[in-house]
Symmetry: C2
Subunit: 205 residues, 2 copies
């Protein structure tokens, strides 16, 4: 059985809960409260992830996979969620690297500080203008791409869509207005209509 | 023939020149000077990469792959540089996502502002302490991992090593002292001793 070290409110962790449900993969959860420092204890750093982050996927044999998008690729390998074709697979990865470099550091980080940090992230007030500008840049790149095609890569729903859905669908919590991005909003609705889709609050029973 | 839109001094672009040389893959170069805004012209944004970045790999049939690590995976697919085994492949990706999220935004960005920006990045002086702290965190994660094994993933030289070599080997240009990281320095020497290794300044003749 797979085990996921996760935090319920983390979009990066949500990617893996969603994918495992859609793939029919049973899993256990270990809750890690990053606000209480539980991903940075000496034990967690020594045994689970030296980089001090969740999610981490633990395989049945004990091997560990940090990095949400790497774990997504592991889960989806050999399924329709990760293309076999050489170019399509790389193009799927292209959007997953875009997500981690050009999207998450602004859209997820703004949400984190607004929703989870004390005083709505007042201590980071000087950083919000850059986060908002770069987050809107990322949404614009997605808008332009999705205005011409239904899915990010390979002409079908893949782990690239799961990766970018995770924080885009709660971008409003970071202060982003999705009204100027109609193609992104239509794509969010398509993702949410996929078989086996579950919301961020879902946990296996 | 492959074509690489690149900037010579960019570590992200170097990854692909190095991999293509090691794979015996001939390629053309198109120089893009990001300091002159050449990756953000209307034409570049419309035809090459809406995200306004290099590298972008163009295939012989015209298809385009932005994101250095996605293009690395395309190039290495089916070769020993990218493992076939499901876990080893995901573990290779794990280090490539680590590179783009936890390493490049600090170690490469500090180098960019110190070396390429006017006045050594004086306008970003308030950001350097965070970049240095987080960059050292990333080097510590690598140190701990490489103290116990010669390569980052799969027990052999892979695209994960290429991805992390690119900016680690010039970390000193960003102000990072590698003296406290002996395992990282030994790994840098192992990477540089691989067949077909070329320095960042190399271009195909």
């Amino acid at each position: 059985m797979l085990t996921l070290y996760h935090m319920q409110e983390s979009g990066n962790c949500y990617k893996l809960r969603l994918a495992m449900n859609q793939l029919g993969e049973p899993f256990d959860l270990v809750d890690i409260d990053i606000m209480k420092g539980e991903s940075r204890t000496p034990d967690f750093l020594a045994r689970i992830n030296a980089n001090g982050r969740v999610p981490v996927l633990r395989l049945a044999d004990g091997r560990l996979l940090p990095e949400s998008n790497a774990a997504l690729c592991y889960l989806a390998d050999g399924t329709p969620l990760l293309p076999d074709d050489r170019f399509e697979r790389a193009d799927t990865l292209r959007w997953m690297f875009f997500e981690q470099y050009s999207h998450e550091p602004y859209i997820a980080v703004a949400r984190f500080w607004r929703v989870f940090a004390p005083c709505g992230g007042a201590s980071k007030a000087d950083r919000f203008p850059e986060w908002m500008e770069r987050g809107r840049d990322a949404l614009s790149v997605m808008e332009r791409h999705l205005a011409e095609r239904p899915w990010l890569a390979a002409g079908r729903y893949t782990v690239a869509d799961i990766a970018l859905y995770a924080y885009t669908h709660v971008a409003d919590e970071g202060g982003f207005d999705l009204a100027p991005y109609p193609a992104v909003r239509a794509w969010l609705a398509r993702v949410a209509a996929q078989p086996g889709h579950v919301p961020m609050s879902w946990r296996p029973s």
